[in-house]
């Protein structure tokens, strides 16, 4: 019973802070709303018996990526807040229409899919050992490729900051 209450509490928290991210005037507040939304999603991961992924979500997203966002917003500190939204109302209308149709399609597919009505089979949670066993046998190539993708960050960012007018210009 507590799972249902917990789910609805976390769901409303995530959705409301998600709306806050899109709607808020000051980019710093939208960043802080996003941090709350991410911890809400991390709580949902714990609810879905995935404690390692939930802790990783807080560690990577809420603790590292969002600190970078908040840091950059504070450093750049653009105070002339141009208008929040793009384009005239014609463009906005089309975009709103597109989003409405898209969300309608997605929810229709979700509601009609057979998986929807089936409650969970057993609520045994996966230990990190099982995650590790599958990770290093089935996905070891993806694991190595990920190392290379992550190598993009330092090389790319240093090259970017080296260009004329960059922060670390030669």
């Amino acid at each position: 019973m507590t799972d249902i209450i917990l789910f609805y509490f976390l769901a409303t928290m995530t959705v409301l802070t998600g709306v806050g991210v899109v709607m808020s005037e000051n980019p710093l507040f939208s960043a802080l709303y996003l941090v709350l939304s991410m911890t809400g999603v991390a709580g949902l991961f714990f609810l879905l018996q995935a404690p390692f992924v939930g802790a990783v979500q807080i560690l990577v997203y809420a603790g590292a990526v969002m600190v970078l966002f908040v840091l950059v917003i504070m450093l750049i500190d653009i105070n002339k807040s141009g208008e929040k939204y793009i384009g005239g109302n014609a463009a906005a209308l089309f975009k709103g229409l597109a989003i409405g149709i898209f969300s309608g399609l997605v929810s229709a597919v979700v509601l009609r899919s057979p998986i929807v009505a089936k409650p969970a089979l057993s609520n045994g949670s996966y230990t990190v050992l099982e995650i590790a066993k599958v990770l290093f046998t089935k996905y070891v190539l993806a694991f190595e490729l990920l190392g290379i993708i992550l190598l993009v960050i330092p090389i790319g960012v240093v090259a970017l900051s080296r260009i004329k007018g960059g922060t670390h210009e030669r």
Binding site: L48, K80, L121, I149
Partner: protein, 104 residues
């Protein structure tokens, strides 16, 4: 969609709502950094769907996929922000329409 037991539908609807919120953010907002944040919101929605399927189908690959999605999303956010900072240093403003100056 019964109320007394939690089914995959509850989580998938929530994931769909979050995804559409992120989509509106990307389409409507003018500031580049808020667009990057909306993309992060969409990726969070995708992660939620992955973990839901991993839990309801008793299959571990969903959680491993979430780890990979997080790593790639963090790399994308890092490089995206580096571009946003260099854009700000050049134009003193963070506006999506600044990308019209790219030529060649």
């Amino acid at each position: 969609m019964s109320v007394d037991v939690l089914t995959a539908g509850h989580y998938l609807i929530l994931s769909a709502i979050l995804f559409c919120l992120g989509l509106t953010g990307v389409l409507l907002r003018r500031n580049i950094i808020v667009m990057l944040m909306s993309i992060e919101l969409m990726l969070n929605a995708v992660n939620l769907a992955f973990v839901t399927f991993s839990y309801f189908n008793q299959n571990i690959d969903g959680q491993i996929m979430v780890l990979f999605v997080m790593a790639v999303a963090a790399a994308e956010a890092a490089v995206g922000l580096a571009i946003a900072v260099s854009l700000y240093k050049k134009f003193k403003d963070l506006n999506i329409s600044l990308f019209e100056h790219l030529r060649g």
